[in-house]
């Protein structure tokens, strides 16, 4: 168990390193000179050169990377070009917004998708289920930024129920959450249905039914209990992916999270800020994934982590 955790932490560090290194190199190979973005209008070449030196961009890429790693080991991921503050600080300010949105979205998804999936499984192969099935396919077929716009037009502009952009009050979270949840509900409810159909048809359920156990208990305690692991895994994976930035939804709603931050940083060629965001979000997502994996043995005693599966 301990070796398993250590191994996974090692993998996390390696993956985070690879992701950061890839982004680091890609950023510096991409066209566009960051210095030009931060120089006064009509800069002289001397001014540009001074800014490049200040940012450390006058060195070769390998030298820059070694410097970056040295600073990283001391817990310093660099200073944002744009905010002129430690990049990590800027990311940490935005992170709570992304986490809040991700938590809200995953809770709404679970609350809607699980009963919906169970209902579809119990009504498997009926016309009602066909309707729900087509509705979930439609749900995963709409571009998420478009759902966001349409919700904005209807509920923020026409009805004026919500503020159209940014984070102004607690109700600002409603529309972005719904936008994310529409796609996720579609995906998760189909998974729940698939798992439940298998379990509802298993012999152990017939035996339980013959013992006079109520249909409600049969569905939830017996069949759903045995479908829970893949569902929890999927929810965890989705949640981890959201921490990597619900980029598009954040941009549409001007939600002040890390996704919006990184898209702007990309436009401004703010290298340290992009690197810091990638580093933080990748590590966070991997940690969440690890925690989900550690939940398995608690949910199903048959699972033993770290042992070679036959």
């Amino acid at each position: 168990m301990l070796t398993y955790v250590l191994k996974r932490i090692g993998q996390t560090v390696l993956t985070a390193f690879l992701a950061t290194a890839t982004v680091f190199v890609l950023l510096r190979m991409a066209p566009g000179d960051p210095a030009a973005n931060y120089a006064p209008p009509n800069p002289t070449s001397a001014q540009l050169e001074a800014i490049r030196q200040q940012f450390g961009l006058d060195q070769s890429i390998p030298v820059q990377f070694v410097t970056f790693l040295q600073h990283l080991l001391q817990g310093d991921v660099g200073t944002s070009f744009f905010f002129k503050r430690p990049a990590l600080e800027v990311v940490m300010e935005r992170l709570p917004y992304t986490i809040t949105l991700a938590v809200a979205a995953i809770v709404v998804t679970a609350v809607v998708a699980i009963p919906l999936g169970v209902w579809m499984a119990r009504r498997a192969n009926t016309a009602q289920e066909l309707g729900a099935n087509i509705a979930t396919i439609a749900g995963q077929s709409m571009p998420d930024f478009w759902i966001g716009f349409v919700l904005l037009i209807i509920f923020a502009v026409n009805f004026g129920w919500f503020s159209p952009a940014g984070f102004n009050s607690a109700s600002s979270i409603v529309l972005p959450t719904v936008t994310i949840a529409i796609l996720q509900v579609a995906l998760i409810s189909r998974l729940v249905r698939r798992e439940m159909v298998v379990n509802l048809a298993s012999p152990y359920l017939t035996v339980a039914r013959s013992r006079g156990i109520s249909e409600r208990a049969l569905t939830w305690r017996y069949a759903f209990g045995n479908s829970a692991i893949p569902v929890v895994t999927a929810l965890g994976t989705r949640f981890a992916a959201m921490l990597n930035g619900v980029v598009i939804v954040e941009v549409v709603f001007k939600w002040p999270g890390v996704g919006e931050l990184v898209v702007n940083a990309l436009k401004q060629r703010d290298f340290p800020l992009i690197q810091a965001t990638v580093l933080v979000t990748v590590v966070l997502a991997l940690v969440v994934q690890l925690l989900v994996d550690l939940l398995y043995p608690l949910m199903d005693p048959r699972v033993r982590l770290g042992e070679a599966s036959a």
Binding site: P31, N125, F149
Partner: protein
Amino acid sequence: MTTSTPNLSEVPGSILGRESAVTRLLLRRSAAARRARYSTIKIWVGVVCAGLVVIPVALAQVLPLPDPIVGALSESSLPPFSPGHLFGTDPNGRDLLSRILHGGQTSLVIGVLAIIVSGLVGIAAGAAAGYFGGWVDTIVSRLLEAQMSLPLLLMLLLVVALFGPSIPVITLVIAFAQWPEPARITRALVLVEREKPYVAAARVLGLHRVSIIARHVIPNVLQQVLVVVLLLLAQAVLLESALSFLGAGVQRPYPTWGGIISDGRELFVTGKWWLVTIPGVVIALLVVGVNLVGDGLRDRVRRAKGDQ
């Protein structure tokens, strides 16, 4: 397969001496028959939805449409159903229908090319990993895992920034994002397939390993993989529009679906709702169509293979 058992209900004067209690009506109402019917419904609804989009898009050059790039400023911001402009016009007076159809050509070409590339790479990598195992499998599996944990969208934006937003670059970027799916399913199917007797027979006959994979194993799993690849087309269209929306699409003035929506978003507050809504409906219609066809086909393939 035994062909000697006669179907009792069709034998005149059957040994049971009476009609079977299993009537045709009951058979038609059975779960299996319903599943078959519903998958047919899904496929046909899907074909109609996708056809409604694909056929006009394919015929964009032939249809009598105004120019998608140059508009008449006198016809700026007309609402839908204006004479001559079914979907209305944008503030530059360009016909929205024409822009959507021409933009759809770019989006569809990118989507189709992307799934061809990701399908070929995914099938090759997945089949090699599944058949050979060992270090080939280790490399492919680690690559798949690594890609799962990367901030994919950010990487794609960076690569487009690096190589420029041309059609080949965007196609390859989407293919890169999508190859894990066919690779994973091909690998899983080939793992099962390689243990079957016909593979051993082919080996005994002295066939080369590559030709066993290409001529015997892959044809047996292709049907299931192709359904997944078809479903990826829906994802590819969505991803392309998302990239355009974030500014990493084919550049203006050439229309793409994501680009049209992105241009329209600053205007929707001023009441020009159609510039955002209509292109989104068109994308959704196509993607729903492709997803329904894929889903229906998947039900059929599963049934043919004797699963759930």
